[in-house]
């Protein structure tokens, strides 16, 4: 038998792989074991075979069949997950992404419906099919460990959290986009050929000029998933920007998109058409569709009226702002600090005081120094703050854990101080905390303390299903951020009904903001689908009608502001809680 074996060298199958083009023009690639070399080695190496070798051979045949993907569509991942059963809408989403969207998609489920599960299923599916070996998962820094753990525990995916420059070289890495885009990480990340990239909280990629977007655009990826509950926050073109990452040209160039789809910055020419075009690349599941059976959420506007000293302080700050605004506009100087002060005075007098003090330190003019000093004096003499008093009253109404959200660090400090004074245990949570500290604070909140006081940036992505109460101390100016806040507690895994209190101060700029928020919600709804109750559940009809009337009969923003201000807020909000 030696002679025949010697002639095997020229055989094409002897090479590790060879390529053959058929008449059907589907190229055939041969891979795997080199046959003749293997037979030669079997003959000459004197390996002993016995009954057990046959058994192992049989087991190998069984294992290969057990692992194979018999069709293009069947979801293998479903039978490989552990400890949970994916919900029907999650399985359907994963199937659609593999079958129809070809592995490049925006997963835009409403907050709390399990986008992570969907992404995990899709990644697992491609891993099982052998189409993905290297995967990069970019998430906010605070979620790196949570994602890694979930991929390992639920999907049995051997994911590694990124710790240093070398971590990126692992096959499946979870890191943050903020780290990845900085040297020396950037080069390491870009130099690897990733089969799949998943980017969580992808609404951070809404601006094509940012480093985030450019980095995401440069990372090589065959399959790409962008996860966000809010693919569009302020303008329609944000949607174009995201889609361009996935499939450049799907919505045309930016100018083509504007010409074809945009009536104005926030309104689609033909919402149905745009929704249909976008559905080729984006999947959005909504709670109202019954995909997930979440307990009810009760959103309630808590109406507040400023006390006399607070009102005086607020009005004086408004006057200062107006004067400053006019001056700055005439001198073409940035009005950003004024905007911040405007938002802070809506949040808390305490936060405004800190900014006023900073302004006082910076100003050179004697008259302005005097004005500011008087204002600070006025503000610091306020004997009691309405908002915090109301928060304490609310906390007295229920005996349960509660998360309080604010936009401002100063307000956070103030709330922490007041809670401590009242003997209520609380921990802070914010974006600036390192990963470990965030985990620690979350742990403390779940085990020991009653209240978590979180700032906007810190709240992103944390899951706090064990908590059922939320107080929004101030409202963000973006409705999607409010939705994300609520999604921290009202998400899959929540077993109790959730109560959300939105504090709103009467006769302040907040009412203008509510209107703008509302407009954004409408734009979002028209293209993407309905949002859950967010701004409040004030028996929308009445509120919607009055806002609509005011919008229709106003010819300028000032007039609209006046009309909104004059709305009979109390009559609208009567019987607001569900």
């Amino acid at each position: 038998m030696n002679k025949p074996l010697q002639s095997t060298i020229a055989s094409p199958v002897n090479a590790a792989s060879s390529l053959v083009r058929r008449d059907s023009e589907v190229p055939i690639v041969w891979t795997g074991i080199p046959v003749e070399e293997s037979i030669e080695s079997m003959v000459h190496a004197g390996r002993q075979f016995d009954e057990r070798s046959w058994h192992l051979f049989q087991l190998c045949a069984i294992a290969t069949r057990a692992k194979m993907a018999p069709t293009f569509e069947e979801m293998l991942a479903i039978e490989h997950v552990q400890g949970f059963v994916p919900l029907p809408h999650q399985v359907e989403t994963a199937k659609r992404v593999v079958r129809e969207l070809r592995g490049r998609a925006i997963l835009a489920d409403e907050v709390g419906l399990g986008k992570t599960i969907e992404a995990g299923l899709i990644l697992k599916e491609y891993l099982l099919r052998g189409l993905v070996k290297k995967a990069l998962i970019l998430v906010p820094a605070s979620l790196v460990l949570q994602w890694t753990k979930e991929l390992n525990d639920k999907f049995r995916i051997d994911a590694t959290p990124q710790r240093d420059e070398w971590s990126w070289e692992n096959d499946i890495v979870v890191g943050s986009l903020d780290t990845a885009k900085r040297p020396p990480h950037r080069e390491v990340v870009l130099n690897q050929s990733w089969d799949m990239v998943i980017i969580d909280e992808a609404h951070k990629l809404k601006n094509q000029r940012t480093k985030n977007w450019q980095m995401a655009n440069e990372i090589p990826s065959k399959y790409l998933l962008l996860l966000t509950a809010t693919p569009m926050q302020n303008q329609l073109k944000e949607l174009h920007t995201l889609v361009t990452l996935l499939r450049p040209g799907h919505l045309g160039s930016a100018s083509q998109f504007a010409a074809e789809h945009m009536a104005d910055r926030r309104t689609a020419k033909d919402a149905n058409k745009l929704r249909e075009t976008v559905s080729d690349i984006m999947i959005r599941n909504r709670r109202s569709e019954g995909g997930a059976r979440l307990p009810k959420r009760h959103v309630q506007v808590v109406e507040l009226e400023l006390s006399e000293p607070e009102r005086v302080f607020y009005d004086r700050v408004q006057s200062l702002l107006k004067r400053e605004y006019e001056e700055r506009m005439s001198m073409h100087v940035s009005i950003l600090p004024l905007l911040t002060l405007q938002r802070e005075i809506c949040s808390s007098s305490y936060a405004a005081l800190i900014s006023l003090e900073k302004m006082l330190k910076r100003t050179q003019r004697a008259d302005r120094q005097q004005q500011l000093a008087e204002l600070i004096d006025l503000g610091s003499k306020i004997p009691e703050y309405t908002k915090i008093t109301r928060v304490m009253e609310l906390l007295d109404q229920f005996d349960d854990k509660c998360i309080i959200f604010t936009e401002y660090r100063a307000t956070q400090d103030f709330i922490m101080y007041m809670l401590k004074k009242r003997g209520i245990s609380a921990v802070p949570f914010r974006g600036g905390f390192k990963r470990g500290k965030k985990d620690w604070m979350k742990e403390l909140f779940s085990r020991k303390t009653r209240v978590l006081v979180a700032t906007e940036s810190g709240g992103e992505g944390i899951n706090l299903q064990f908590c059922h109460y939320m107080i929004n101390y101030d409202l963000p100016w973006n409705p999607m951020r409010l939705e994300q806040r609520i999604g921290r507690i009202h998400r899959l895994g929540q077993t109790n009904e959730c109560h959300v209190f939105n504090l709103a101060t009467k006769d302040t700029i907040e009412q203008h903001i509510v209107h703008i928020l509302y407009e954004k919600v409408r734009m979002f709804e028209s293209v993407i689908g309905t949002l859950d109750d967010i701004v409040s559940d004030v028996r929308y009809d009445a509120w919607e009608k009055k806002v609509f009337e005011a919008t229709m009969t106003s010819s300028s923003h000032q007039e609209l502001g006046t009309k909104l201000k004059n709305l009979d807020w109390a009559s609208v909000t009567n019987g607001k809680g569900r």
């Binding site: 055939i28 037979i39 593999v98 592995g103 160039s253």
Partner: protein, 303 residues
């Protein structure tokens, strides 16, 4: 067992493990309903437990280490039952100690069982192990008398993969008679029921009239002919999709030209090229034939 979709039940997985551990010489120390304990020989231990540095240390320092015992539960009920037993045994062990140390009380935990299901770490390791150990074989029927004349067959097993942005796989087994180059499809399934014993390859191949290379060519031609007769609609669709996607990409980048800024234009062209390559790599339809097993099988001459 569903031949096309094996190992979907707990019972099948239990049988798979029993056969595997017997074949690799692991000692079965406990056998209860849907539960087994196996003591692993060192070579198997290395394959099934993911700890290369541990083995490096053991071997470099000539350590004597206790062999690993795997405690495998094949149903939830078995896991619950055996975990409870292990807790009880642990408590008895602590109670029996005259003076348990602080370490014993604080850190020593009862041993735990592993639930074996599809996708679990251990089963994946077992799959890896059989993929290596079951790659080649040379056998003839156990019943065949010593000195009997065998007709030599070469068996090639593997997967035919239709690959585009997703993949569809079909298992194949083709046998080629080395005496007359006869081709038999589904060869493995036709002989899988026959009890086999090991047979020296040179002995089986003694009656071969054709070379392995000829047999391989024959198998290849037969498989490719079979593949050519299949429906390739999927590939046509995939190719059309790819053409559409490339056209869309090209249109987009041609509308993004920066003629006034050569540097920016060059960067844009590089980006365009890179995205084209990614798309082509992902979506081009192709067929991959992956050979995973080779067998030399001597079948008695039927007169």
């Amino acid at each position: 067992m569903d031949v096309q979709h094996p190992l979907r039940t707990d019972e099948e997985r239990l049988k798979f493990c029993d056969v595997y551990f017997d074949a690799v010489g692991a000692e079965r120390t406990v056998e209860r309903p849907m539960y087994r304990e196996y003591v692993l020989p060192r070579d198997v231990d290395k394959e099934l437990t993911d700890r290369p540095f541990y083995w490096l240390w053991v071997e470099r320092t000539n350590q004597h280490v206790e062999p690993t015992t795997l405690r495998l539960a094949f149903s939830d009920e078995a896991k619950q039952r055996e975990d409870a037993r292990l807790v009880e045994e642990h408590q008895q062990m602590l109670a029996a100690q005259q003076q348990p140390t602080g370490y014993d009380i604080l850190f020593r935990k009862p041993k735990q069982t592993e639930r074996i299901d599809l996708g679990c770490f251990r089963l994946e390791k077992l799959f890896d192990s059989v993929r290596e150990r079951g790659k080649t074989v040379s056998v003839c029927p156990a019943q065949a008398p010593e000195g009997a004349v065998h007709v030599p067959w070469m068996m090639l097993n593997g997967l035919i993969q239709q690959v585009t942005d997703s993949v569809s796989e079909e298992w194949f087994s083709v046998g080629i008679c080395l005496a007359n180059l006869q081709v038999e499809f589904n060869f493995y399934d036709k002989i899988a029921h026959i009890p086999m014993r090991g047979c020296a390859p040179s002995r089986v191949l003694g009656g071969a009239k054709h070379t392995a290379a000829e047999a391989v060519q024959r198998a290849k031609a037969a498989l490719e002919k079979q593949i050519a007769q299949k429906d390739h609609h999927w590939a046509e669709e995939a190719r059309e999709r790819l053409m559409d996607d490339l056209a869309q990409l090209d249109t987009y980048y041609s509308s993004m030209r920066h003629e006034d800024d050569p540097e920016r234009q060059a960067a844009m062209e590089r980006e365009h090229q890179r995205k084209r390559e990614q798309l082509i790599a992902k979506s081009t339809p192709r067929i991959a034939i992956q050979l995973s097993q080779i067998g030399i099988v001597g079948l008695p001459l039927v007169r």
